[in-house]
Symmetry: C2
């Protein structure tokens, strides 16, 4: 049985953006059932949890055979078990993995920087220019294509998850290529099930 | 023959930190020879180069069989060909990959945020607290250990590369665990050869 750790509550702004989402989504795409191990925020600093996830983050993963952490590593492991997520062809496979890393290393850190400097004008201008150029490069790849490569892969899954952090700006949904791309990814039934599961696992009120 | 793209010149602050370094290091650890395809900064925006690396970054990789990009994806591919970098045991293998992703997704973006807000006090305080807590978690794992797991893996390689971006602060070399850890990694002959190769490939003056 597969177990994935997730928080039992987060503030509204983080709902639908917590990193167990891409793992739940990958499991849904792969047709693998799982259960969420819900933890409270104080739990993340216990020695037991740190032994599972050294930084006290979610998600951590355990399938009875392997026990490890990091959403990127977990999603890659699931993808290796599912042709829906990772093509067999060596070139297509490696391209999909390139996009998985690109989402996490080339796009996500710049989005995080962008949010970080919201109230620091000079830094904001710098990171905003970098973010726009990265998004333009992504849109250039996606022009006239449904997915980053010939078909949906784990690379699109992680790119879609990462782009969701810009959904309150016009940078994605105001773009004629990236907007439809993200909408296409969010329209996948496996995504809807994953999102609904994450949201359904949150308590209505923060635990005392 | 393996080809890796790299810049023919960068400003002093970036020397030894450009992302072809972990790829060169992984190739040296694996005992694989390669040649660097040096590009100038204007070249990175040509259609030809963007076809190889969609964001105009370095490194991009070509071994005659596969042609792809992203330092994390390239390093993982090299590691899959070398027991020096990736253990055969499934658990140890997955742990090493977890650390590879942790370096790129959990540590590196926070370091980049830290540098980004150098002149924005409120944001600096926030990201500096987060960075210190992440580094403390890393130091807790490394206490009484030489490497993140039982032996050196690709996870240490990428973690070492990422921590180098803090070498001008006291956050790593002022720490009794992280300082010796990074020094241990930088003392590896394969690292020295990789660093020397990157530095040796830079022109003395920016090209006109």
């Amino acid at each position: 049985m597969i177990t994935v750790s997730a928080f039992n509550w987060v503030p509204d702004f983080a709902k639908g953006l917590v990193r167990d989402l891409p793992v739940r989504w990958a499991l849904e795409e792969a047709g693998l059932s799982y259960s969420a191990k819900l933890i409270g925020h104080p739990d993340k600093d216990t020695a037991t949890y740190r032994d599972w996830q050294p930084f006290g983050q979610v998600p951590a993963f355990d399938d009875g055979k392997l026990r490890f952490f990091e959403s990127g590593a977990i999603v890659l492991y699931i993808a290796e078990q599912s042709p829906v997520l990772l093509p067999d062809d060596p070139f297509q496979r490696r391209r999909a993995i390139s996009w998985l890393f690109a989402a996490l290393s080339t796009i996500d850190p710049v989005i995080r920087g962008f949010h970080l400097v919201e109230e620091a004008p000079a830094a904001r201008e710098k990171v905003s220019g970098l973010l726009k150029s990265r998004l333009a490069a992504l849109a250039a790849v996606l022009k006239n294509k449904e997915y980053l490569e010939d078909r949906f892969t784990v690379g699109d899954l992680m790119m879609g998850f990462v782009l969701r952090s810009l959904r309150d700006t016009d940078l994605v949904f105001g773009d004629t290529v990236l907007g439809p791309y993200l909408a296409r990814l969010e329209a996948r039934p496996a995504f809807a099930r994953a999102l609904s599961a994450q949201l359904g696992d949150f308590l209505a009120e923060p635990p005392v």
